[in-house]
């Protein structure tokens, strides 16, 4: 068999995307070819993507083999658990604290919990730690100020690299260096509108 697993997965992703998008597009008036409504171009584009998805899927049966990386049970399990925990955290956030009320705080907490849980599997540790770093940054930035947000982000992101955990002194160095650099570039030079210190 010359199955191309990567292309099969790509085709399925494309088809799913197109079908969901076409379903969402039912809200928009199509109009006519002469006077196109807001739904006309989306319709053309989504059918185009659907067609290509089917083509990718069809070709995938002949142009392989190109297998996907093999997942362990832990890899798949941590994704499932992350989705469940993330969704739960998102719903529970307003009950935990009013801290999460504004600025997509609940959504951010959900994402953060999801990305942290996914780090359970070694395979997802890099993606989990890096994206969790971004979420921590957004959650802390407006109330905690730039400095606190940066420290937290750097600490979380350093978990992605095993060597950092063996030598924590390096983390300290990079944190001090980046705090100084970001302060100089973004506050001193560019003067972006953000508080530097906590606003509690």
């Amino acid at each position: 068999m010359k199955l191309n697993a990567k292309d099969i997965a790509s085709g399925v992703v494309l088809i799913l995307f197109a079908v969901v998008a076409l379903w969402l597009n039912q809200d928009h008036a199509l109009g006519s070819a002469r006077r196109m409504g807001p739904g006309y171009m989306p319709m053309l584009v989504f059918y185009f993507v659907l067609f290509l998805g089917i083509m990718v899927l069809a070709i995938a049966f002949f142009n392989g083999p190109d297998p996907l990386e093999r997942w362990t049970g832990l890899d798949a399990g941590s994704i499932a658990l992350a989705v469940v925990a993330g969704t739960a955290a998102m719903w529970a956030a307003p009950q935990i604290s009013s801290f999460f009320d504004a600025n997509y705080g609940a959504f951010g907490l959900g994402l953060l919990v999801g990305f942290v849980v996914i780090c359970w599997s070694l395979r997802w540790r890099a993606i989990g730690a890096i994206c969790a770093g971004l979420c921590v940054f957004s959650l802390l930035l407006e109330k905690g100020g730039l400095m606190l947000a940066l420290i937290a982000t750097i600490l979380v992101a350093c978990m992605a690299e095993p060597e950092h955990r063996r030598r924590p002194l390096g983390i300290l160095g990079i944190t001090v260096f980046l705090l100084a650099l970001c302060w100089w570039v973004f506050i001193k030079q560019l003067d972006i509108r953000v508080s530097v210190w906590p606003q509690f």
Binding site: S10, M41, V45, F48, M55, C158, C182, F186
Partner: protein, 499 residues
Amino acid sequence: MDIIGNLAFGFGVALSFENLLFALIGALIGTAIGVLPGIGPVATISLLLPITFGQPATTAIIMLAGIYYGAQYGGSTTSILLNLPGEISSVVTTLEGYKMARNGRAGAALAISALGSFFAGSVATLVVAGSGPLLTQVALSFGPADYFSLMLLGLIISAVLAQGSVVKAIAMVGLGVALGLVGTDVQTGQQRFTFGIPELSDGVSFVALAMGLFGIAEIILNLERPEARSVLKTKVGSLWLTREEWKRATPSVLRGTALGSVLGILPGGGASLSAFGAYMLERKVSKGRHLFGTGAIEGVAGPEAANNAAAQTSFIPLLTLGIPSNAVMALMVGALIIQGIQPGPRMVEAQPDLFWGLIASMWIGNAMLLVINLPMIGMWVKLLQVPYKFLYPAILVFCAIGSYSTNNNVFDVYSTAIFAVVGYMFSKLKLEPAPLLIGFVLGPMMEEHLRRAMLLSRGDPMVFLERPISATMLAIGAIALAAMLMPNLRKGKEAAMAG
């Protein structure tokens, strides 16, 4: 004579203190990221986009352009000294360049790649200056139907020339166009696919998309690979070329410059394709072709000239037609739009300081790069000793602050994280993100032109075939697609891409 007056005006703009400073900063950053493997111009430019908001448009574009062609200079250093390409466009330089270094001619290889790049850059700058205004004149006669077909052609060719499967690349273009649809419909004001999120009414954030797909996803992929950066063992040696080397390298530089200038203009072309093309050409026609594999200087000179020439000429479609030919140019469109400038044929007249100032700054930047790279080579070699584990937290924080400060909202930072996951998934499925970015930029413009064209033709789609310009574009697109479906041509492309 007009062009000389215009160039003089351009030099006046480019020689202002601020523009000179930012051309230098761009060239320095470009060289640095070119030298460092694991971070490329697309990621760098997307993470610096938000920083350029406060600057005048001309200064911003001058700096961003400097990063792109600066990376072509820097990329060769790592290729030659470490057998590790700093950029995709310098992959082929490793083949002969590293062999030269092992023969003790590292200095000569570095010198010819810098000098060749400088020569190619100077010539290509003149090509941009000469052809820009001409193409602009042509473009002004374009109607909406012609524009639509031209953009379609651009998308098709960028997909055809992309790495990997053509069908998947076209699908990625489609996904990009689809993402570009999110937001307020320009003609009716209706919200499309915003899910009631106010931040999406202006569309998906360009900065978040580019940073997520390229910047953050790249960090994650780099972290998964174990670091393979050995400590430098090769000595640089003398930077002077022997008379024999000059004689062999000169024709290669000329050929590389010509090839790169042409391939750079093509949509989807740009630096990496040109370098591959020039390497194949040199292996076939150069006098030293029998020496390939043992450290032939032609194999360094040709591709290095070509990638830099292409880095300059790929600005032509952007500056004259408003159409980005590769992912870096898509970022430039983003930078211009954020500055309130709609890229297109009117830019030369409406923003002469931007057009001519950029051209003049390219030449100045190339001259700066020659100095930055040759006498200061030791400094860049030292930069290679910064391990990635210290580099990636810096990239991440810059991405975080950058994506936040674009619109001062945290929603964009969350979007960046989500697009990073998407970009990671794309790379695991061998889906190229570059065509997606081009589709995303061109999508909204295509929709507008399509609607206008169909309104003018009273709903008759034949208008695309009846107008000669439009019909020609569509014919070229069809031929390009058909050609890629032919098995032997596709094999040729695969061989070229594999280097």
